[in-house]
């Protein structure tokens, strides 16, 4: 019974049948802050590196970052659990309506928050209006000296200057998995694929799957008593559920 109560607590944010499609659960108790997700994401998604000066000036392009704070004073000091913050793929995304060019829109098919790079004109309103501050803007054309471009993932657009970008839940992997499943006449199985961050995570703290399937690993994890959403009070209906640490 208690478990069910918790379920309703977590899903209270969502109206009936509105919990989105793909979701992620991140167990902050297990996340070791190792940054494998950060590097994996950058490699998968052609995220450019920006160099020392720009990265120290809030211009790093990370699509996922690990936050941590401090509590208390030495020697009783504690670090708050590492919290990987990425685009929460909000069901009710504040970034979407403010774009005058329809460059950030809600995908009907995947229930994801899409960023359409070639439609973006760079007003940066979406980033301003993102309560999670997970959008990164191409302040420059970032240099990738030859032969580094050999590594670029052909499934992912390389963004030019003046364009906003953000985590896509590795939509290219979602589509690949869906295509494969479709060609085999079946549904995508739970755990069949994962975004780069979840795939790399050595602790398996990041779990990805269908949140509209109550039997999926991610749904089960998200239903747990420790689950919460980031800035839940804003009603953005994030697709990412965090599990409290410690």
């Amino acid at each position: 019974m208690t478990t069910e109560l918790k379920i309703s607590e977590i899903s209270a944010n969502f109206a009936e049948g509105e919990q989105g499609k793909w979701g992620m659960a991140i167990d902050m108790d297990i996340c070791t802050g190792c940054q494998a997700c950060v590097a994996a994401c950058a490699m998968e998604n052609n995220v450019p590196f920006v160099g020392e000066a720009d990265s120290g000036y809030g211009r790093s392009m990370h699509w996922i970052r690990t936050e941590r704070f401090w509590e208390g004073e030495f020697p009783e000091i504690k670090m708050t659990p590492y919290q990987p913050v990425l685009c929460q793929q909000c069901g009710h995304a504040p970034c979407e309506p403010v774009c005058p060019a329809f460059a950030t829109v809600h995908s009907q098919a995947e229930a994801l928050n899409l960023q359409v790079y070639n439609r973006c004109v760079g007003t940066r309103y979406c980033a301003n209006n993102c309560p999670y501050q997970v959008r990164s803007f191409n302040w420059r054309d970032y240099e990738r000296p030859e032969p580094l471009p050999n590594q670029l993932n052909p499934d992912v657009t390389v963004r030019r200057r003046g364009v906003m970008e953000k985590c896509t839940f590795c939509i290219q992997r979602i589509h690949r998995a869906e295509d494969v499943a479709k060609s085999e006449g079946r549904e995508v199985a739970d755990g069949e694929f994962a975004p780069a961050c979840a795939q790399a995570c050595p602790a398996d703290a990041i779990v990805f799957g269908r949140i509209d399937d109550p039997e999926s690993a991610v749904s089960k994890m998200a239903r747990g008593a420790r689950g919460f959403h980031l800035l839940e009070e804003l009603g953005t209906l994030p697709a990412v559920t965090y599990l409290k640490g410690g």
Binding site: V121, T123, F137
Partner: protein
């Protein structure tokens, strides 16, 4: 008899005094006034060209050069970052739209309310509207990451089959600013037609100026019909442009207020921004008039202490209204107790740029209140210039506090970061220079004084004796 004579002398003095004080009571023949206005355009000293040249260089290098550099290299050469995605670009946009509001206020609202002191400087103020909006447009385009694609924001049919997103306050901005720019330009142009015809008639044949005036005067002759159409149109404009003006700055305020950000999500931002716009706009009008009066020939006749006096009173009134809205916003945000808002308010006052917050209050409230209550002081052009300048700094600071400083604080403290302007400083200076340059250029080509409106006013004003007192009366001519 002696006392009667004294009384008579006294009355004559009084009348002379009134005439000296009030342009409307001090009529000159129309031909003379035309001559004065034409001379004011043609009387150009070498100093003017020196300033004009310097400003042209600044515009070429700071505005277009730096902008080109930024387009080629990306916005990284500016200071914008996460979380201050909007920087001085939008500060300047709001600032220039604010400046532009004064012109409409003076030529539309004062016209509707028949405030006679407006007559000689409606055009000077309207020019500010148009030129200010040009700068605002520049600033907003500079801000865009891919400005070369800015036409994607226009609601025009295109091969992508995609229209702009009308859910976005930025789309509303585009519509509102376009509407405002077009209508204020039209509103500038309509009353200008008779003056252009006047200039046409007084420009020798064979000069390029003649062609310029000929073309722009559209063949205006001053027939009854033309005047009737013009009058009706100006009446419609005077009323209709007021809601447009309010909508523009309200929508600009919604860029902030519609966002889910602490400190921004405020219902009072609309009127607060409109009043703020008038505040800086009035200050700018005072500055422009002080310069025009002192630097342009014959302008001391047209622009007098009474005008600065009236402007000063308006500035004081607007300052009080601004303070009221500011406090209203502050009080509610402060009382609300949201932790991020609290942090933001604290950051405004005690953060590294806390001085700006205090300077804003001093420039926008303390100084106007301390000086403008005094009729004599506020009639002094240069004092009003100074106060206007400070108000403009104060209002610029206000926008700086609302945009980059408030953007520093959000709900993810891990990302808080100060904003340090880069090339946008130069671009901002470039827009100021371009504004002045346009204004200077216009002052050589466009009769800054709407002579026919002044004459119309002078026709309507007369002196009447009520008992022993000679007073001014105004007859309704329209």
């Amino acid at each position: 008899m002696a006392s009667t004579a004294t009384h008579h002398d006294h009355e004559q003095d009084h009348i002379a005094h009134l005439r000296e004080k009030h342009l409307m009571l001090d009529p000159l023949p129309r031909g003379r006034m035309n001559e004065m206005v034409m001379e004011s355009m043609h009387d150009t000293s070498w100093k003017f060209w020196v300033v004009f040249g310097i400003l042209s260089v600044i515009v070429a290098v700071f505005l277009f050069g730096a902008w080109g550099y930024m387009i080629a290299n990306g916005l990284g050469v500016a200071g914008v970052n996460r979380p201050s995605y909007w920087g001085i670009f939008l500060v300047n946009t709001v600032f220039w739209i604010g400046i532009s509001h004064a012109g409409t206020f003076i030529s539309a609202i004062l016209r509707v309310f028949k405030a006679e002191f407006r007559r000689p400087f409606t055009r000077a103020a309207e020019l500010m509207t148009t030129f200010g909006l040009v700068q605002a447009g520049f600033s907003i385009f500079m801000h865009m990451g891919r400005v070369w694609l800015s036409y994607w924001l226009m609601p025009i049919p295109n091969q992508r089959g995609l229209w702009p997103n009308f859910h976005s306050p930025l789309s509303w901005d585009l519509l509102a600013i376009t509407t405002y720019l077009l209508s204020s330009t039209m509103y500038l142009f309509l009353p200008l037609i008779p003056d252009l015809a006047m200039a046409r008639d007084r420009t020798p044949d064979g000069t390029w100026q003649k062609t310029f005036y000929r073309v722009l005067a559209l063949g205006f002759r001053g027939t009854e019909g033309e005047w009737t159409h013009l009058r009706h149109a100006m009446n419609i404009f005077a009323f209709a442009i007021i809601p447009v003006m309010f909508s523009v700055h309200t929508i600009v305020s919604w860029d902030c207020a519609a966002a889910t950000r602490p400190g921004w999500n405020s219902t009072i931002f609309g009127p607060y921004f409109v009043v703020g716009a008038l505040h800086s706009g009035m200050g700018a009008v005072a500055m422009v008039l002080a310069v025009v009066q002192s630097r342009m020939k014959h302008m001391k006749y047209f622009i007098r202490g009474e005008h600065f006096d009236a402007l000063g009173m308006l500035m004081l009134l607007v300052s009080m209204t601004w303070a009221y809205f500011f406090f209203n916003d502050y009080m509610v945000q402060w009382y609300g107790g949201d932790k991020w808002t609290q942090q933001l308010l604290h950051f405004h006052e005690a953060g590294p740029l806390g001085w700006m917050w205090f300077a804003m209050l001093i420039f926008n409230v303390a100084i106007p209140w301390a000086t403008l209550w005094n009729k004599k002081w506020r009639s002094n052009p240069w004092l009003l210039f100074g106060v206007g300048l400070l108000i403009n700094f104060g209002m610029w600071f206000e926008r700086y506090i609302i945009i980059p400083i408030s953007l520093t604080i959000n709900r993810m403290p891990f990302t808080w970061r100060m904003y340090t302007p880069g090339v946008e400083i130069y671009l901002g200076i470039g827009t100021v220079a371009f504004f002045i340059l346009l204004y200077m250029g216009a002052s050589r080509l466009i009769p800054l004084i709407p002579v026919w409106e002044v004459q119309e006013g002078q026709m309507a004003h007369s002196l009447k004796k009520y008992g022993r007192e000679t007073v001014v009366t105004i007859s309704e001519l329209e």
